[in-house]
C-alpha cells in the first residue's frame, strides 16, 4: 500500500517536471532571440535585487524605534534612583556594574539582581566581603526579593521597586511600533523577485535544456520563504530581517545547487523546510530560560554522544571522516553539535561567577575539538575552537585565559598536523596556490580563475564551469557564486552574514539576559568565522580547510544547522514584538505556584554551587 502511494507521488512530481520542461522549451522557441536580451538584463537585476534586499534589512534594523526596556528601579535615600535596564543586573563597586555602588565597603562584583520569566526577582550574593541583606536578613547564596523590600549592600539601603504587571504592559504598549520605516513584507517580495530572476535565468537559457527539478525548486523556495513569514506574523511578531538575510543566502545556495547538482534540488527544498522548522524549535526553547537551564546537561550529553558515534562509525569523504550514514541518509553530526555547543556555552549571569560552570564547558569544548581532530575535520575543529574562545572571553572577560587557550591550541594543532599528513598537505601549498596549480593548489586556482572570469556581474546563472571541480558547491562556493552571479553578488552574500553579526552586536546591550547575549554573539561569531575560512581559504588567503559557507554551500546538515544557529542571533532582539524568541511580558497571568517553583529551583541550584 505504502509503495503504491510513494509511486503515485513520484509519478505526480515527475509529471510536474515534464510539464515545466515542456513549457520552458516552448517559451524559449517562442520568444527566440529575445531570450538572450532577457538574460542580459537578468544579469544586472540579480546583483541589484540582492543589494536592495540587503540594504532594506540594514535600514530596518537600525531605523526602527528601539528604546531599551526598563524593568524596575532601586531607590536610595535622598531620592537617588537607579533604573533596572535588564533582567540580569550586577551590583558592585566596579565600573561596569549595572547597579554601581561606589562605596569602599562594597566589593567590585558584589551581587546580582535577576528577574525570571514570570516576573519574580532574586538577589544573589556573589561571595562578597560584606554580604547582602534583604529586609536586614542576611542572604545566604540567593534569596527571592519582593516589591518594596529593602536590599542592603555594604551598609547602603535600597528600596526595590520592580515594575508592576500593569506598568510592564504599559511599557510594551508604549514601545509598540507606531510605524515601520521598512516594510518587511515588501523586502520579502523583492527577495521573491530575486528568486524569480533565478527561475527565469534557468527557464529562458537557450544554451542548456530546461530541467524541471530546477524550475520547480525556485517556486518552492519562495513558498517556504512566505510560509515562514506568515507564520511569524501569525504569532504576532513583525521583525523578519534576520530571516530575510538567511533566505537571501539560501537563495544563492539554491542557485549553486541548480547549476552544480540539479538532481539534489528536491532534497534541498526538504532540507530548507527542516531547517526552518528547527529554527522555530530552537527559538521556542530560547523563550524560556528555565527550560534552557533544564536542557543544558542533556544537550551536552547528546552532542558528545553524537560525536562519539561519529568517531567510531564515520565514513571518510575527501580525507575527513565527518559523515555518518544511517539508513541511506547521510549527514554530518558535527554540524548539529554546533547548535549544542553554543547552547551549552552560554549561561545566565548568576552562573557566570561560578568557576565550576566554566570548567564544565571547557571540558565539553575540549572533547568536541578532540573528536573533530580524531575524524580529521580540521576546519570544523577550528570553527569550534574560535567559537570557544569567543564564549570564554564573553564569560570570563579575561584576555589571559584566552591567550592561554590559544597557546594550548596552537601546540595541540601542531601536534595534530604532525600526526595527520592530510592536514599538513593543506598547509604546504598555502599562499602558493599558483605555484602548484595541478596538485595542492588545484581547487583554489580554479576558484580564483572562475571568480575573475565572472567579473562584477557574472556569466549568468548556470553558465559557469567551476561546478565541475571537486567540492565546488561546498568548499569553493564563493568562486561559483562570483563566476555565475558576479563579484557584487558574492560580496553581498558576505555582507549579509556580516550584517547578522552587526545585528547581534547592536542588540547585545539591550538584551535581557547574559544568556541571550552569549548565544547571539557567539552564534554570529561562529557563522562569520566559518564564512571567513571558506571564502579566504578558497581564495588562497587563509589555509584551505574545507568548511562550508553558511546557508550557501550545498549540503543538508550544514543548511539545517545554520538555520538552527540563526535562532540564537534572533534571541537578542528586544524591540517590541520583534523576535519570537523573546516573550512579550505581562501577557500571561502570573501564577503564584509557578513563582514558588522558580524560587525553589534557584535555591537548589545555588546551594549546589556553593557547597
Amino acid at each position: 500500500m505504502r509503495a503504491t502511494v510513494s509511486a503515485h507521488v513520484h509519478f505526480m512530481i515527475e509529471s510536474v517536471y515534464k510539464a515545466l520542461e515542456t513549457v520552458a522549451e516552448w517559451s524559449v522557441s517562442f520568444i527566440g532571440k529575445r531570450a538572450e536580451t532577457a538574460l542580459f538584463f537578468l544579469r544586472y537585476l540579480i546583483p541589484a535585487l540582492g543589494l536592495i534586499v540587503l540594504l532594506r534589512c540594514l535600514i530596518s534594523l537600525f531605523r526602527e524605534d528601539s528604546r531599551p526596556e526598563r524593568w524596575g528601579r532601586l531607590v536610595l535615600s535622598g531620592d537617588v534612583t537607579i533604573p533596572l535596564m535588564h533582567w540580569e543586573n550586577t551590583i558592585g563597586r566596579g565600573r561596569s556594574c549595572d547597579i554601581r555602588v561606589d562605596v569602599p565597603t562594597v566589593s567590585r562584583s558584589h551581587g546580582a539582581l535577576i528577574r525570571d520569566n514570570r516576573g519574580g526577582w532574586t538577589v544573589y550574593d556573589l561571595s562578597s566581603r560584606t554580604g547582602i541583606e534583604v529586609d536586614h536578613k542576611k542572604v545566604d547564596g540567593s534569596m527571592p526579593v519582593r516589591p518594596g523590600q529593602v536590599i542592603t549592600v555594604g551598609g547602603l539601603d535600597m528600596v526595590f521597586l520592580p515594575m508592576s504587571e500593569e506598568e510592564e504592559r504599559e511599557q510594551a504598549e508604549s514601545r509598540r511600533y507606531r510605524y515601520q520605516p521598512v516594510s518587511q513584507g515588501f523586502t520579502l517580495f523583492l527577495l521573491s523577485m530575486l528568486q524569480a530572476c533565478f527561475f527565469l535565468s534557468f527557464f529562458l537559457d537557450p544554451s542548456q535544456p530546461a530541467d524541471g527539478r530546477i524550475l520547480l525548486g525556485f517556486p518552492c523556495l519562495a513558498a517556504v520563504s512566505w510560509a515562514a513569514y506568515l507564520f511569524t506574523r501569525s504569532i504576532r511578531r513583525r521583525a523578519f530581517e534576520a530571516e530575510t538575510l538567511a533566505l537571501l543566502l539560501t537563495t544563492a545556495g539554491f542557485a549553486v545547487c541548480a547549476t552544480s547538482a540539479a538532481y539534489e534540488m528536491t532534497r534541498q527544498i526538504l532540507f530548507l523546510i527542516a531547517g526552518v522548522i528547527l529554527y522555530f524549535c530552537v527559538g521556542a526553547v530560547l523563550r524560556s530560560l528555565r527550560l534552557v537551564k533544564k536542557l543544558r546537561i542533556p544537550a551536552a550529553a547528546a552532542g558528545l554522544a553524537l560525536l562519539l558515534v561519529n568517531v567510531v562509525f564515520s565514513e571518510a569523504v575527501l580525507g575527513a571522516k565527518n559523515w555518518l550514514s544511517i539508513g541511506g541518509f547521510s549527514f554530518q553530526p558535527s554540524e548539529f553539535v554546533k547548535i549544542v555547543f553554543i547552547f551549552v556555552g552560554a549561561a545566565t549571569l548568576d552562573r557566570l561567577f561560578t568557576k565550576k560552570n566554566l570548567f564544565l564547558f571547557v571540558g565539553f569544548a575540549a572533547m568536541c575539538v578532540l573528536a573533530l581532530v580524531l575524524i580529521s575535520d580540521f576546519g570544523t575543529g577550528l570553527v569550534f575552537f574560535v567559537t570557544y574562545l569567543v564564549i570564554a572571553f564573553l564569560r570570563s572577560g579575561s584576555i589571559g585565559t584566552v591567550f592561554l587557550s590559544v597557546g594550548g591550541a596552537v601546540s595541540a594543532g601542531l601536534l595534530a598536523i604532525s600526526l595527520k599528513p592530510y592536514i599538513a598537505s593543506r598547509f604546504s601549498g598555502w599562499r602558493h596556490a599558483w605555484d602548484f596549480p595541478y596538485d595542492s593548489g588545484y581547487q583554489q586556482v580554479r576558484a580564483m580563475s572562475a571568480a575573475a572570469g565572472g567579473g562584477l556581474f557574472g556569466l549568468g546563472a548556470g553558465r559557469g564551469w567551476l561546478e565541475t571541480v571537486v567540492a565546488a558547491n561546498t568548499d569553493l562556493v564563493f568562486g561559483v557564486v562570483c563566476e555565475e552571479e558576479g563579484l557584487i553578488f558574492g560580496l553581498t552574500m558576505i555582507l549579509a552574514v556580516i550584517l547578522l553579526g552587526v545585528y547581534a552586536f547592536a542588540y547585545a546591550g539591550r538584551a535581557r539576559s547574559s544568556f541571550t547575549v552569549i548565544c547571539s554573539v557567539s552564534a554570529a561569531a561562529m557563522l562569520i568565522f566559518q564564512m571567513m575560512l571558506n571564502v579566504l581559504g578558497s581564495m588562497d588567503i587563509l589555509p584551505f580547510t574545507g568548511v562550508t559557507f553558511p546557508f550557501v554551500s550545498r549540503g543538508g546538515s550544514s543548511l539545517i544547522a545554520c538555520w538552527g544557529i540563526l535562532a540564537f542571533i534572533k534571541a537578542c532582539d528586544t524591540r517590541q514584538n520583534a523576535s519570537f524568541t523573546v516573550r512579550v511580558p505581562g501577557r500571561r497571568k502570573r501564577n503564584a505556584a509557578d513563582v514558588d517553583e522558580d524560587v525553589r529551583i534557584y535555591v537548589r541550584g545555588s546551594e549546589a554551587e556553593h557547597d
Binding site: V390, R446, L459, G509, V521, F529
Partner: protein
C-alpha cells in the same frame, strides 16, 4: 550585563579580520584578475587548454593569427607564417614563448567589469615586430638555422625576431623527426645559448678597460700563435704588435687571449655577470636562457674564454641587450615584444666611459674591416664572431652591433648556425635586415 555588552565587541574584531582578509582578496582580484581569468583551466576562455578567441597582429596591424572558437587562422602569406611562428606561437603551445601563451592575459578579452562574459569579444594584441622585416630576415637566412633580431634602443621594442628552423602552422609537416626540424619549437633568439666566438672580445675589452688603467695603450705581440703556459693559442693571421683598437678590428686571438689572462678570470666573470650574460634577461616577463662563464684557475682556460672559445656560452637575447647598452651609453631598456609595451624599466649594464670606448672601437671595426658600404647611409657599430663548434662542423657565424640613422638607434643580433665565417655569412644578413629596418 554592561560588562558582557562591552565584551561583545569581540565580534567586531572578527568582522575587522574578515574585512582585512577581504581587502587583500579585492586588491589581488583587481590587480591579478586578468591573469587569474587567463588560466588555461578556465573553460570560458579555453577548450582543452586551447584559447578560444583572440587576435595577434604586428606593429602595423597586419593580422598574424586569429583564433575563433578554438580554430586558428594564421596569415595568408607563407613567408609571414614561417617567419613569425616563434613570435606568435603554435596551436598546441609547443612553442612555450609564443605570444598566444605569453600574452594570453590580453587575448582572453577580459575586462574588469565583465570578466570573460561574452568571451567572443576577442582580445587583440599588437606585437612590436614588423612582419615585413621578419619576412626579410627569413629570406636572408635562406633556410639556414639561426636567429635574427632587431630592437629599438630607446624603447626596447623588438622590431624583428626570427628563429629558424620554422614550419608552416597551416600545413605542419607529418613528422618533425628529420634533422631539418631539429629544435623547431625553440625560439633560438630567446631560448638557446651558443658559443660566442669573437663577439666575446667585446666583453674581454670591457673587462680590461675597467681593470687595467693602460688598457688602450697596451700592446701584445701576435706571431700567428702565442704561448699561454705550456699551450698554444692560434690566430687567423700574423698581426705583429698591436693595440686594442687594431686587435679588435682584425679580431686577433693572440691579443685577447693574453689580455684575458692579464685581466684575470675573476674580473672576466664579474664582467659577464654585470652584462647579464650569465643571467636571464626578461622579455615581458619571459626569461631568456642563461649564458655561462666557468671560472677557472688555469690561465689557458681564461685565455680561451677571452676569445669566446672556452666553456662560455651566451644567449642572443642577452647579446642584443648588451648592444643596446653600448648604444645607450651603458644603459639598456627592458626588451618587449608588445607594441607600445608596458612601461618597461631599464638597467645600467656598464659604465658610460666603457660604453663610449667600445662604441668607438666597434665603429672602427666597420670602417676598417667590414666596410661602411655594408650599411649604406647608416652609422654602424659592429663585431663579427666565428664560433668554432668542433665535430667537423662549420663554425657558427655571429654579427652583432647597432646602427644610427635619422635619430633612431637600432641594435641587432644575427646568428647563423654552422654558417661559416662571421662577417661574410652573418654580416650580409645583418646588412640586409638593418637597412630594411631603417628604410621600412
Amino acid at each position: 550585563m554592561t560588562k558582557i555588552k562591552r565584551r561583545s565587541a569581540v565580534l567586531l574584531i572578527i568582522i575587522l579580520l574578515l574585512a582585512a582578509g577581504m581587502g587583500i582578496f579585492l586588491f589581488r582580484y583587481f590587480r591579478d584578475g586578468r591573469h587569474w581569468a587567463a588560466f588555461s583551466a578556465n573553460r570560458t576562455a579555453y577548450t582543452d587548454g586551447v584559447l578560444k578567441h583572440g587576435e595577434i597582429t604586428d606593429r602595423d596591424g597586419e593580422i598574424l593569427l586569429t583564433m575563433e572558437d578554438g580554430t586558428y587562422r594564421y596569415s595568408a602569406d607563407t613567408a609571414t607564417r614561417l617567419s613569425t611562428l616563434h613570435a606568435v606561437g603554435d596551436r598546441y603551445g609547443n612553442i612555450g614563448t609564443g605570444a598566444n601563451i605569453v600574452y594570453r592575459d590580453y587575448l582572453t578579452g577580459y575586462d574588469t567589469v565583465n570578466g570573460l562574459y561574452r568571451s567572443d569579444r576577442k582580445g587583440s594584441v599588437a606585437l612590436s615586430i614588423d612582419a615585413g622585416l621578419n619576412r626579410r630576415a627569413w629570406q636572408a637566412l635562406n633556410g639556414r638555422k639561426g636567429a635574427v633580431a632587431v630592437c629599438d634602443c630607446d624603447t626596447g621594442e623588438i622590431l624583428c625576431m626570427v628563429s629558424s628552423p620554422s614550419f608552416d602552422p597551416e600545413s605542419p609537416p607529418d613528422s618533425f623527426d628529420s634533422p631539418e626540424y631539429e629544435g623547431v619549437y625553440i625560439n633560438r633568439f630567446l631560448s638557446s645559448a651558443y658559443t660566442p666566438g669573437s663577439i666575446y672580445k667585446l666583453v674581454t675589452a670591457a673587462a680590461a678597460l675597467e681593470t687595467l688603467p693602460d688598457a688602450m695603450q697596451r700592446t701584445y705581440h701576435c706571431a700567428g700563435s702565442c704561448e699561454i703556459g705550456d699551450d698554444t693559442v692560434n690566430c687567423m693571421g700574423v698581426h705583429g704588435d698591436l693595440s686594442m683598437r687594431e686587435a679588435l678590428a682584425v679580431s686577433c686571438n693572440c691579443y685577447f687571449a693574453q689580455l684575458a689572462v692579464d685581466v684575470g678570470g675573476k674580473a672576466m666573470k664579474d664582467k659577464a655577470d654585470a652584462l647579464s650574460l650569465t643571467s636571464s634577461v626578461f622579455m615581458d616577463g619571459v626569461p631568456s636562457t642563461k649564458g655561462n662563464y666557468t671560472l677557472s684557475s688555469e690561465a689557458l682556460d681564461t685565455a680561451w674564454s677571452g676569445i669566446g672559445q672556452g666553456q662560455d656560452t651566451v644567449c642572443p637575447a642577452a647579446v642584443l641587450r648588451m648592444m643596446a647598452a653600448i648604444a645607450g651609453k651603458g644603459e639598456a631598456p627592458d626588451l618587449t615584444l608588445l607594441k607600445d609595451g608596458p612601461e618597461g624599466g631599464s638597467a645600467v649594464l656598464l659604465p658610460e666611459k666603457t660604453a663610449e670606448t667600445l662604441a668607438e672601437l666597434m665603429h672602427n671595426n666597420v670602417v676598417t674591416s667590414y666596410g661602411e658600404s655594408l650599411f649604406p647611409g647608416i652609422r654602424a657599430y659592429a663585431k663579427s664572431g666565428t664560433a668554432e663548434v668542433g665535430g667537423g662542423l662549420s663554425p657558427h657565424a655571429w654579427f652583432v652591433g647597432y646602427g644610427e640613422k635619422d635619430g633612431r638607434t637600432l641594435a641587432f643580433v644575427v646568428l647563423v648556425e654552422n654558417g661559416g665565417y662571421g662577417s661574410s655569412a652573418a654580416g650580409t644578413v645583418a646588412s640586409d635586415v638593418l637597412t630594411a629596418a631603417f628604410d621600412g
